[in-house]
Amino acid sequence: MAAGVAAWLPFARAAAIGWMPVASTPMPIPPQEKKKGKDGLIILNVSGTKFQTWRTTLERYPDTLLGSTERDFFFHEETNEYFFDRDPDIFRHILNFYRTGKLHYPRQECISAYDEELAFFGIIPEIIGDCCYEEYKDRRRENAERLQDDEEMDMSNDVTPVNLTPREFLWRAFENPHTSTLALVFYYVTGFFIAISVMANVVETVPCGMLPSRAKELSCGDRYALAFFCLDTACVMIFTVEYLLRLIAAPSRYKFMKSVMSVIDVVAIMPYYIGLVMTDNDQVSGAFVTLRVFRVFRIFKFSRHSAGLRILGYTLKSCASELGFLLFSLTMAIIIFATVMFYAEKGSTASKFTSIPAAFWYTIVTMTTLGYGDMVPKTIVGKVFGSICSLSGVLVIALPVPVIVSNFSRIYHQSQRSEKRRAQRKSRLARIRAAKIRGTNVYMRYKQNGQINSLEEASKEAGKALVAKARSPPFESQHNHLLHCLEKTTNHEFVDEQTFQANCMEISVMNKTGSCASSLSSSPHGLSSCCSRRHRKKSSFSLPSTNNQELSTIQIRERPVANSRSSLNAKLDGTLKCDKPYITPSMVSLSAPVVTTSDGHGSTTTTAYSQSNIVRVSAL
């Protein structure tokens, strides 16, 4: 908890004197200080290397080996020291944890050795400080992956496990072709057919020689139309079968259908089926021809067979913003130069620069240093600007290219690292919240125990009850006492998040039921928080016998004299009894001890309690 700054706890407690004059309720009794055991030095001998520290430093963390009585098992009487037969280099970090409250992970140590030492000394690795936590998690994950790879390799050498369902077996065969020979055969067959299909698409456009009866040359596709059609049919059948099998075998069909590879598969085979449906319709045959273009997407099916292609696609995707920016700046330059060239060439006769969009082509060709020569400036001004254009083109195109290349590698690594960090950030925030909740839970437990103990004290002798209290470590009990003092000062109690949410839920439920208090909702204070309305409802509920009119009169009377203690006491003595039985059932977890202690103490607490009632009721 705050054990890292345990040395400052006396200061924080002393500063609590600042609350005393404004406290609304009397302070709780501080925990008895144990007989101040001499704060002596402890010698820790770890395989010959001697470490020394104060006893209280170690006792800051009583649930670890060194902080608890467990270390007595390692006490060596002859030399009057604690001897541990462990690694002294790693022990240094563990001891530093006690000293500073922060656990660091040394990068040169092996992760499994470090984990073992932490486990031995009873320290959970989750408290590693943020500076080293990322590295620790990375190494741990690498280690786990290495172990998993070893396992997998062993597994693949064994006989394939028989307890896979046929569906899972099929999926595994598709995803890892090396698992069985059948899968490997299928993998190569599909690869072969993809290649055949792509080559057929290419070849069918090659001119294949002339038929004597025709005037122009036929492409191979037209000449051997039937052969190509059969080839296409065979390929599409294989692809369809493959797609359907994958769809059946996929563990999550919806996720599979959304994935990129499945979209590519569909796009690869769709043109064929669409073509089958509308071959004889001349009107749409133009569209049909364009659809054939999509057949070239079959080449992307190769990305299942090649990891490099997948990486390229991924990096392009992650570099999209840089590419977009490059495109944008290029567009700006193109527009500028095209405009300039158009107006420069406007005067010359038979100029090819008929419009600014027509000049775009010239600018692009010039800036990329292609220089086709189909459009050339004829005027001197045009030539001047044309040369400026080509020179700046060299700069504009050539300079960002290395930037983009380095961006590729940087972004690739960075996206991996940032995804890691994002995942870790969620868990880091969860850790922080869990630590906070742990802290408050400790305090809640202390309160329940402490209340019960203080009651027992009042009735029994002090000595007996103290035994029960002495179980918690001195630092914690002092910290809890400090938080208790704050509660008494402000006359509010700490609750944990769930109870608080539950309380807020109650209001929304009661909002719907309690219409009688709606007339009181227009209070001059204009409360906005949900829990304030709860109190309104609560006090209205607490006087079920009184009708609306009485209720409103009571509240109205109390508002102007909200600050006068004596008058309110007189009124609230009546409400006090009604309130209590209402409170107990709604908050079972906390209210029981609260109510009993208020009974147990003297009149001062009753006034305090009624004071808290003042706070509640007068909000109306």
Partner: protein, 215 residues
């Protein structure tokens, strides 16, 4: 071309940032403070030698440079109150400890303050509390100052409390306080009114002795 211009315009800003931070680092590292000797501190405070040793070790552990600035102070104090926001109250506390108002609390300031709080007479403790509440140190506690202090204390409770904190709770608490303390009803509390009133209140008297054996 536009891209080039943008790239070049971004670079100088980054360079400027690094030079600033280097200067800042130099400033911080030159601020070091060594406390007066143990005998002197023993004479000036009511702590024994051993107690001073323990205090200094804890102090130096958290602040190796020998002085606490306000940020570190807030961070340390906030660790004791995880549920709420202790920074405002820590600010007031810092001002109360920083008696020479130089923006940092040295070990002497720290130990003097603690000596009053833990070993001082009732008069001195009440004096210290008055000094804490009197934010502008003019000898009067006004309602605004008290409201600030009260809000700071309530902030430390955080959001999840029972009964749930409402916005007027600090205000009401201030009213109660002034009701009690402001005898001549002039809207401010002077040091004499404060001490008088506290000495007549047995709750407060009892609670003043609460932390005597903290160290």
């Amino acid at each position: 071309m536009g891209a080039l211009m943008v790239i070049f315009s971004v670079q100088p800003k980054q360079r400027r940032k690094t030079t600033d931070s280097v200067e800042d680092e130099l400033e911080l590292s030159t601020v070091r403070h060594r406390p007066e000797g143990l005998e002197q501190l023993e004479a000036q405070t009511r702590f024994s030698r051993k107690e001073l040793q323990i205090l200094y070790r804890g102090f130096k552990n958290e602040c190796p440079s020998g002085v606490v600035n306000e940020e570190t102070f807030k961070v340390i104090y906030a660790q004791f109150f995880p549920q709420g926001d202790a920074s405002t109250y820590a600010h007031f506390l810092f001002n109360a400890f920083d008696t020479d108002h130089n923006g940092s609390v040295s070990f002497e300031d720290f130990v003097m303050g603690l000596s009053i709080l833990l070993r001082g007479s009732i008069q001195e403790k009440l004096n210290w509390a008055f000094n804490l509440y009197d934010i502008n140190k003019d000898g009067y506690i006004t309602k605004e100052e008290m409201l600030d202090i009260m809000k700071a204390i309530y902030d430390m409770m955080g959001k999840c409390t029972y009964p749930a904190l409402r916005e007027e709770a600090p205000q009401q608490h201030v009213e109660v306080f002034f009701q009690k303390m402001d005898k001549n009803k002039d809207g401010v509390v002077t040091i004499d009114e404060f001490i008088d009133c506290c000495q007549n209140d047995e709750n407060i008297m009892r609670s003043m002795h609460l932390f005597e054996n903290v160290l």
